[in-house]
């Protein structure tokens, strides 16, 4: 991120000087900063609105209901976790929160899940198979309701802010399947090479 930031600004200044338009640098920097502040203020509205609703849903136990609903689908992904172990519950809560678009609520469950998985791990400095699978699914982002995204589009003046929901579902399904497949292939390949 550091490098990208430096690259954007340095190359911008260089190109502007070469093109003989150095004045553009300062004027665009200031107008951009102003646009950023305006954007942040309009963000307060949508983000507060959505997080308010999300909190009501969370307190009502929607995440728990969701995790019971998806449990059968995710049980088979983690064959190395013993039946009834708390790790699976934490993983399901984390994935459910992510699916419903409650990013903030997801992280504590995710970190708890990692602790539980670590207690099953034979080599504490090396990722276990279940950890790799969990993170593969987690980082591929399983989204059912991209609510924050829709709210952000609305605040930017979109005529139909939720029109991208279908596209997001398609793309996220593709990437989650790719993550599960990729994880499976790597797990099998590792088993073959590292026979303990």
């Amino acid at each position: 991120m550091n490098q990208i930031f430096a690259f954007l600004i340095l190359s911008g200044i260089l190109v502007a000087s070469i093109n003989g338009r150095v004045d553009v640098v300062v004027s665009s920097a200031i107008s951009s900063a102003e646009a950023a502040v305006e954007r942040a203020i309009s963000l307060i509205a949508v983000v507060s609105l959505w997080l308010g609703i999300a909190r009501v849903a969370e307190k009502a136990g929607l995440i728990g209901a969701m995790s019971r609903a998806i449990a059968p689908f995710f049980r088979w992904l983690f064959p190395s976790i013993p039946e009834g172990h708390p790790a699976l519950g934490c993983i399901l809560m984390n994935l459910s929160a992510n699916m419903l678009g409650f990013g903030n609520a997801a992280t504590p469950f995710g970190l708890k899940a990692m602790q539980e998985l670590q207690s099953l791990n034979e080599q504490p400095d090396t990722a276990s198979e279940a950890m790799c699978t969990f993170l593969a699914v987690n980082t591929s982002s399983v989204t059912l309701v991209p609510a924050t995204l829709v709210a952000l589009r609305a605040s930017a003046g979109s005529r139909n802010p939720s029109e991208i929901v279908g596209a997001v579902l398609f793309a996220t399904t593709c990437s989650t399947m790719a993550a599960i497949a990729g994880d499976y292939v790597m797990r099998m390949a590792n088993k073959k090479f590292v026979k303990r």
């Binding site: 954007l8 553009v24 507060s48």
Partner: protein, 180 residues
């Protein structure tokens, strides 16, 4: 079952109203104090927007200078063979790289695209789809493994990046297909 584009579009505008309705009915049944929790959550929104502000300024300024100076045109020319192959604008390629590193920065970049091109432009829709279907791969892997002291992450990063790449291709494909 084949869903048409029209069905998906009209269905999508129902998603949020229905969700909010169900949440409030469910919360009422469970006797949750709706208003108090709403206000409590909205307070988090205030903090979140405040936390995002420095990221927004950084990204907006960097992208602004990069665009206005004409540097972006040079980059687009350099990348045009790849970009025409996947049919994606340069900004989105950048966005997908930033996305795997920093969530707030990627969010800022998407909002910058909304402000410059409009959320209903091709690039605006593509940016939305990309943000909605990916997550901050490097950040999550670093934080989650770091929290339990795992140093050898094995194949986690390649698998995560592979999924991000699939997500990128799928986003470009579906946005081209759905919105003509």
């Amino acid at each position: 079952m084949i869903m048409t584009v029209e069905m998906m579009n009209s269905g999508a505008s129902w998603v949020l109203p229905i969700l909010i309705f169900l949440v409030f009915v469910y919360a009422n049944i469970k006797k949750v104090n709706i208003f108090e929790n709403f206000v409590e959550g909205a307070k988090d929104g205030l903090l979140m927007a405040a936390r995002l502000l420095p990221y927004l300024i950084g990204i907006y300024v960097a992208v602004g200078i990069f665009r206005e100076s004409g540097a972006i045109d040079i980059l687009v020319n350099l990348l045009s063979p790849i970009l025409s192959l996947v049919k994606a604008p340069a900004e989105v390629l950048f966005l997908s790289i930033v996305r795997s590193l920093s969530g707030p920065a990627a969010l800022g970049m998407m909002l910058e695209i909304f402000d410059t091109h409009g959320p209903d432009s091709f690039i605006g829709r593509l940016a939305s789809t990309l943000i909605g279907s990916t997550d901050t791969t490097f950040y999550i892997i670093a934080v989650y493994f770091g929290s339990v002291g795992v140093r050898k992450t094995r194949y986690s990063i390649p698998v995560g990046l592979f999924a991000d790449f699939v997500s990128f291709l799928a986003s470009v494909y579906i946005v081209r297909k759905m919105f003509k």
